[in-house]
Symmetry: none
DNA sequence: AAATAATCGAGACGGTACGTCGGGTCTTGTC
DNA sequence: GACAAGACCCGACGTACCGTCTCGATTATTT
């Protein structure tokens, strides 16, 4: 996972040292994985990265900014393209939950959301990120629209919102091990509705 | 709102003083309202309530327990019963958002969720609370089922989950001012689906 | 010298814990003795005393205040009373230099003077202390006046100032090992003058 | 006072740029004058001089060395030659105090003494400087000896020491505004003594 | 004329210390 | 035995400087 080079990093002149940046992000991830959000402090990250606190503060103005960078370094979970909307969305949720569960990402993102509740910078950063992701997820809906699977007047953003909300709440309440049938049911409700008239 | 009695509370003998408990809960709510989650500390609550820190720790083992108590003291938002599921759910969301937006409740609940990300006791307490609320919301669905509005095989818990998730995410991302049309659209998707075949 | 009790001090209620105060003063003295003024930091004192920094700041608003307390805890060097002014003053300087040289006091006082050059609180504290000591030394002169050794119109404060100044400069320039003959000569100049007419 | 050239100094090739040296010494003096010793940092000097820190460290190995250079750039206070020892010495003290009080020199020298208490290089530099000055002041005594005013066996160094010590202590305890009568009295004690027999 | 070498400003680096805040524990004296 | 009060140790906060390093640019000296 990298750890800091044992022999000590130095400045490489009047510009950012990418080794330090990497070491700090690695350390942040490791601290979060080992000590959780409650043990996640700039102090601890600096210690682990063998970096000075000012170096961290220089590049990441807040804990949230650091968390966001850590999160964004992770591999993205992308939405499958099976030609069928339900499968796409179920697959996406399945992949996302697995990613969150099996890597540090889940904890990172949970922490980021928590941080955003007390830090407006974090809130802004998270909002920006969420918007981007919503557009991304929205594309699946648009694809389905193009295939004629989804009614053309449907607002893809709202649908993406419903799906993302469902994912967030599972993350925040430790339900990432939800069984696939339940996920599929939830997705199906959104796609087909629950109305008696229409089923 | 209560504030602490200016002249100082004393012990009332070898049992819990309910005035102190009230003063502490009042203070907690006030601190949260004025300083937000980031300014919410046991220290600040004690100061404001003119209470000793040990008095707080004696009765509430963690910040989360205190938050939960504060939240549960609040008036509940209940689901309207209009005879129409869509109106019921939209009304519920509307009321809930207004409640969260206009009282301290929103901040309290946000804080509770945030706290639950670093404190397993908080997480457990929140999970318990959420389960209770899910059942509560689920009843609306069951009523609609009874009216024949909703297909009988529908899992009310999952629907309640979708609705609650949507609400949570709006709370956590500062979107409690969502316009009503959007809420109605989201609810309609869950009820009627987005599939082209069925609209 | 005390060191901190290994098992940890606790609060003894809502009042100052004298054990902590002692441990902190002991630690301050030890740090100064071992690391000198440049290594003398509140941080280091806290570490050594196993005390929290806030505990130190609670009772000593500045490094200078702590230094002053440490210095005043030391045994005082008093002026001998031999019945002869020259012997009294030479004896005083000899004792003072030995005291400064052989105990931590010299370093403490040096540090205090240094600190006073950048901290006005320290300067005020030092000025107050110096005034007290000047009166003290002045008494030797007054005794000599009473014996008829010293002219009655002589300003004892100014004489004390000359002597103290001489001592300070030796302290500040690492000349505490000045040989006794030189001290005696200096004292003799002040008592008998250097004028050709009068010797 | 110079300030740094607004448009930026550059290297003038493979040798020391005297403009930079001047700018740094000017800046050091200005910082000391405006912020005092506590605000005197290499960082602040570099900022003010628009110089790189390594440029400072290249030429002055320590804060003390820089201070010493700043001090030595100042105009010297010389001892008057009135043909009368008392007037010479009183005049010297008067001039010295005025110089210290009215220019940055007083602060510079105070700082230098303070610095010498924690930095052995500074101590050595200061000792060297003091020795030089002592010889200088000693010449006044020697002149008086030559005139027959002072007994031939008197050690001019010790007398100079007494006078310089008196000056130092006034500097270090913020008493540069001492009235002239007091100075004269102190000088007179050293010259004529305080003994009853001889007055 | 080209290559070398030392200097310059700039500013990042790993660190240490600053002075403050809050956490959770403890004890005292009053009710 | 509960209460207000507040001290205790601890650890994190975000900032200021420390002294070192490396850069790219500049320019006098050497080839």
């Amino acid at each position: 996972m990298g750890e800091a080079a044992g022999t000590g990093r130095k400045s490489i002149g009047a510009r950012r040292n990418p080794d330090s940046a990497d070491a700090i992000l690695d350390a942040a991830e490791a601290v979060l994985a080992e000590a959780g959000y409650s043990g996640f402090s700039i102090e601890a990250v600096a210690r682990r990265a063998r970096a000075g606190k000012p170096t961290i503060y220089r590049w990441w103005p807040s804990k949230a900014a650091l968390l966001l960078d850590v999160y964004q370094r992770q591999k993205r979970v992308d939405v499958p393209d099976t030609g069928n909307l339900e499968d796409d969305l179920v697959g996406f949720l399945k992949n996302l939950f697995a990613h969150w569960r099996l890597t540090a990402s889940g904890n990172v993102f949970r922490s980021l959301i928590a941080e955003a509740q007390s830090d407006s910078h974090a809130a802004a950063a998270l909002a920006g990120y969420a918007t981007g992701r919503r557009a991304h997820t929205g594309q699946v809906i648009e694809r389905a629209k193009a295939r004629g699977e989804v009614a053309p007047e449907v607002d893809a953003g709202i649908v993406a919102d419903l799906i993302a909300s469902y994912a967030w709440r599972h993350l925040l309440t430790n339900r990432l091990d939800e069984d696939q049938a339940t996920l599929r049911t939830a997705v199906r409700y959104v796609i087909s509705g629950i109305s008696a008239r229409r089923r």
